[in-house]
Symmetry: C2
Subunit: 202 residues, 2 copies
DNA sequence: TTTTACCCTTAAACTAGTTTAAGAAATAGG
DNA sequence: CCTATTTCTTAAACTAGTTTAAGGGTAAAA
């Protein structure tokens, strides 16, 4: 087994959940990606940077967050194993963005630089289809979240998050979850207390 | 000028804002679409239906909305001229969905049925690229909306909506806008009153 | 091991948004 | 042009969520 194959296997395996790839395509993809380790709290992108990479998470959890005019951070999304994270606006416009990407846990990622991705799109048109589907999947998740945000109480939103992402719900600090749900950590603490009391009362 | 060209021009023009198309490709696309008129309040899709079409708005405004457990409607998105509307979850899974699509104004749309769209993807691979980009654009909009929802007050969200979609903000009834923002029409009325007073006080 | 920084909880006072109800204004459509 | 229906507004009482502040628990790092 070649080391280069070892290195990128998780990404190829991810692509192959969508479509099969030829050996020569796999080699081309592998020649255009790079691997990187991140310490806890290390930033991959900060406000004002241009996002020049698609980032695939091999191990760990990262967050994409924005900062509001008053300086508060708000989590837009989390990405754990086998998920993608990037500031899509900054990436496509190749302009400085307003988002930040940070490792919450020590993490390991695979990155594809912009020009490499475009090179891959040209040489492996199938990848247009794959990323079309990936983006559609992420669009669905986001639309469900918008529906939650406009139709539910904080308690319902937390329950939905807890049921949909049990892994993240137990793995992440509550401060991070509160920021994602759009509530204060204090109020999340209250919600959790009420939920536990509700259960034990039975 | 052929009638068939007349008929579908707005959709082809829309595609050509992304990539150029050959005559033969245009003919193929035109052979696979259909045009439809909708009365005010007419539904294109209701809860429990399978969404079998991508719908492109030629004229008018439509809304995609969901219904919460208590029976209240919540607007997930609006689509006006040159925009797309469909229940993406139901469409891709070909399963009954929980969304509804309704014309707010008398409207005119162009539809592509699922099997026709797949036929077009196979014969015009460029369309994978086009819909990848369209979905990315819509993802960006949705992500901005999520950020608004978790980081802003209702007043800020309304201001953002008003500035970003001035056409919709003046064209739609406030009840529809309130439903989209996740607030009651009464509270939107208060916000608008305060904003006008704020302005005239100067 | 000790310290430091982070994280979680509780509670009281406050602010943002909802509900209910009733009347006024605007609009679609016969 | 008229009427029915929808839409918008106001206000008072209510509920959901925030803020501030203080204290305790826990994990990382020196």
């Amino acid at each position: 087994m070649y080391f280069s194959v070892m290195k990128s296997t998780p990404l190829i395996a991810h692509f192959e959940t969508y479509l099969p790839f030829e050996e020569v395509e796999i080699s081309l993809i592998e020649s255009r990606i790079s691997r990187r380790k991140l310490k806890r709290r290390e930033h991959l992108l900060v406000n004002g940077d241009i996002c020049r990479h698609y980032t695939f998470v091999v191990k760990g959890v990262l967050r994409l967050y924005g900062i509001d005019p008053s300086g508060k951070e708000h989590n837009i999304l989390f990405a754990a194993e086998n998920d993608w994270i990037y500031d899509i606006t900054s990436f496509h416009e190749a302009k400085p963005g307003e988002s930040n990407i940070q490792a919450i846990e020590p993490s390991e990622v695979i990155q594809i630089a912009q020009q490499d991705l475009y090179h891959l799109y040209v040489n492996i048109p199938k990848l247009d289809r794959v990323f079309k589907v990936i983006t559609e999947e992420k669009y669905v998740e986001l639309q469900n979240r918008v529906f939650q945000n406009i139709s539910s109480t904080a308690q319902q939103r937390y329950t939905y998050f807890y049921e949909k992402y049990p892994n993240l719900a137990t793995r992440l600090p509550n401060t991070q979850i509160a920021s994602y749900l759009g509530i204060t950590p204090e109020f999340l603490s209250m919600i959790r207390k009420e939920m536990v009391q509700g259960k034990t009362k039975k």
